[in-house]
Symmetry: C2
Subunit: 419 residues, 2 copies
């Protein structure tokens, strides 16, 4: 007998018929001999409906009372699902954030979970009940309702799985798993069987529709095994696994690259001929950090004549603002100019196997070179290689890399680097 | 400075515009120097919307999960009203049933309030905040959400007023008070300035749209002064007052009759020639009680030849069932027959002043007699005289009684019985 946490998102709860469908899935899991905790989101569209009500009154995006309002969405869902389970003979009990209880900090609209009291859940499970928990919500230390931000129900589910020491946390949505790359970009994309949490974090964009990034961080920290599945079919889904000691990912050692992400919403900024002195880079990035502009793929050239060039990417939407902020520093820092190219894309290959295998970069650059893709910037980490290319070559880059690392084959059947 | 509890019903909260209107009323009350606790219902139509969702899943009318579902209606209301108050510069804080906390028994769908912890409310009031409390809901001793039944927000408000020792409990609706009789029946009906809780209970039908009967019982028990007002004008409203020692109603001694109610949904049942022995009446009413049929205006004739007749009224909708139940007892009890007349009406005059004044019945019967209204049954209590008449004469009876007791005049200006 396993203890399984299942999370169903808004599209899975979009109508009475779908809620009844979810109830049957839950019943089947219980009938297979498992204990089940279900975490649900608000019915699709409900959160937006509530926000449009509050929007007519107040322009505040975050407020104690907005959280009181939004928390009703999940409350409706848990009641309806518990009723639907009761109708098909499954004893079920709904629990709200304050009943569980999921204690958070008091940052309304994006609260962080501090603790979960698993005992009310275990009491219900021990009575043979299915427990239906409201996602997205908690209470602060004074008992005020808080919410965890968009996609927060994933986090609720993973945190609940950690608290009750579940054997798995199944995240259901209308997508049947995580793919090696965006299938809209390359039709040969295949479903990933298993991926580590660290890889998943690097490939957040591939799982964006499936799994909220904060919940993956949480799973990594607390050792929760996540399985992303479709509510609407019985496929195997994709496992997102924490690296444990001994390695639950051990069997995947052969796989070098797990997935490829392309970010076309990037712009490249180059600052040229910066007088080479200690602290110059910090002074450049300080105003960008203050404005919360996300800087990525930073490359600095080796100094020549006491000067160096610095290039990096920012989100395309922030490029203009970043340029203005940097221009403001020119007289102080004495650099030559700030150049912006917002027709670039960032393509990243990610794989935990890179840690122990050399030659990944070589195969990557060779494949791109043979396809005539010019690399503007390169940045590498232990498990990721990112290249910045002309936006027009983004799709080509994804395809040749997908082929080069045989991502269309099942994970176990791919050739090693030196085979 | 007074402490005032204000309750706004669903029609007062029916739209964003109306919620903003309510916020301005609340702000005005606070600006006049009062501490304010607001109790609100769900937005009009919301409870029905939620019930239609659950109705598609389950036919259960009462269930733990139905209460979880319905409680969201008031939660939406308190959040929106607190936001609307914030927008016009009034510090406000919403509190749910479990936060207040309103502890009830565990009878889902019609829970009874056990205790209210007034301290969270006082803490907010002492900080200068308006407190916005969700009506209709509570928690049982195990922390499960309960609801108080239709109209339960009135009860929440009165109970809250008792708990925080409020100076008054103002109940706002789209009706501007309680009338001496139904204005649709007699256009001379006037708004009652003050009425005692006991009178109000006897005249429940006159206040049915304005004030839930259970909340009047509660006000009587805990000495809460209620004022029924319109959300949409600035009229004085009607006071519903508990009889305290010394009598908050003392100034109304001159008024003999306070209001007149007509119930056209009654049927008269007569059981004839019942052998006169102890316990016969109990045996007749036993099956009606078991089926929860409400029996009223019971009149038994003095026995003759060892037999008596017994007549009473039941709700018209229960007449057929009552007749069948009684027929089943005929051989056992040996009565002659069961007659049903469902074309009757019950007209009641109510007034606390009757207790100390004789001659009320005389004036009542004389007025009806002069108008040619034949009395089928008469029943009196300390503060009420009910007569059962042919349904066609109900309106005439109401009008002549209204005139006879000068209910069209202000309460202080009516002649006494012996003037």
């Amino acid at each position: 007998m396993s203890l399984i946490v299942q999370k169903y998102g808004g599209s899975s709860m979009a109508s009475i018929e779908r809620i009844q469908h979810v109830a049957r899935r839950v019943a089947r899991t219980q009938a297979a001999g498992h204990k089940v905790v279900v975490v649900v989101s608000a019915m699709a569209g409900e959160t937006d409906r509530l926000l449009s009500l509050s929007g007519k009154i107040s322009s505040k995006p975050r407020d104690r009372e907005i959280d009181v309002l939004l928390a009703t969405g999940e409350q409706v869902s848990i009641a309806l699902l518990a009723l639907a389970l009761g109708e098909i003979g499954v004893e079920a009990r709904s629990l709200l954030g304050h009943q569980v209880k999921i204690v958070t900090d008091n940052v309304h609209g994006s609260a962080r979970i501090h603790t979960i009291d698993a005992s009310p859940v275990h009491e219900c499970l021990d009575r043979g009940e299915v427990v239906v928990v409201a996602g997205f919500q908690g209470v602060d230390h004074e008992g005020n309702i808080t919410t965890l931000g968009r996609g927060g129900s994933d986090l609720s589910a993973v945190a609940m799985a950690a608290a009750v020491k579940a054997d798995a946390c199944e995240i259901y949505s209308d997508v049947d798993g995580i793919y090696t790359t965006d299938p809209n970009m390359y039709a040969k994309a295949t479903k990933i069987e298993r991926i580590s949490c660290e890889e998943m974090l690097e490939l957040a964009s591939l799982g964006a529709k499936v799994l909220q990034a904060r919940s993956v961080e949480f799973a990594l920290k607390y050792g929760v095994a996540i399985c992303c599945k479709s509510t609407f079919d019985d496929g195997e889904g994709s496992w997102v696994l924490p690296d444990g000691p001994g390695g639950s990912m051990a069997s995947l050692e052969g796989a070098v690259v797990t997935g490829i992400a392309a970010d076309r919403q990037a712009a490249r900024i180059s600052v040229t001929r910066i007088p080479d002195r200690a602290g110059a880079a910090a002074e450049l990035f300080e105003p960008l950090g203050r404005e919360a502009i996300n800087v990525d793929v930073i490359v600095q050239t080796a100094p020549q004549d006491g000067h160096c060039d610095l290039s990096f990417t920012v989100p395309k939407a922030s490029a203009k603002q970043a340029q203005q902020l940097l221009e403001g520093l020119r007289s102080e820092l004495g650099f030559a100019e700030v150049r912006v190219d917002d027709c670039v894309a960032k393509v990243s290959i990610v794989g935990a196997g890179m840690r122990s295998q050399s030659g990944v970069a070589l195969r990557c650059f060779r494949a791109l070179g043979q396809a005539g893709v010019n690399l503007q910037l390169i940045s590498t980490s232990e498990i990721k290689i990112s290249v910045v290319v002309d936006e027009r070559f983004a799709e080509v880059a994804v395809r040749v890399l997908h082929d080069a690392f045989e991502l269309d084959k099942p994970q176990g059947e791919r050739k090693g680097l030196h085979d």
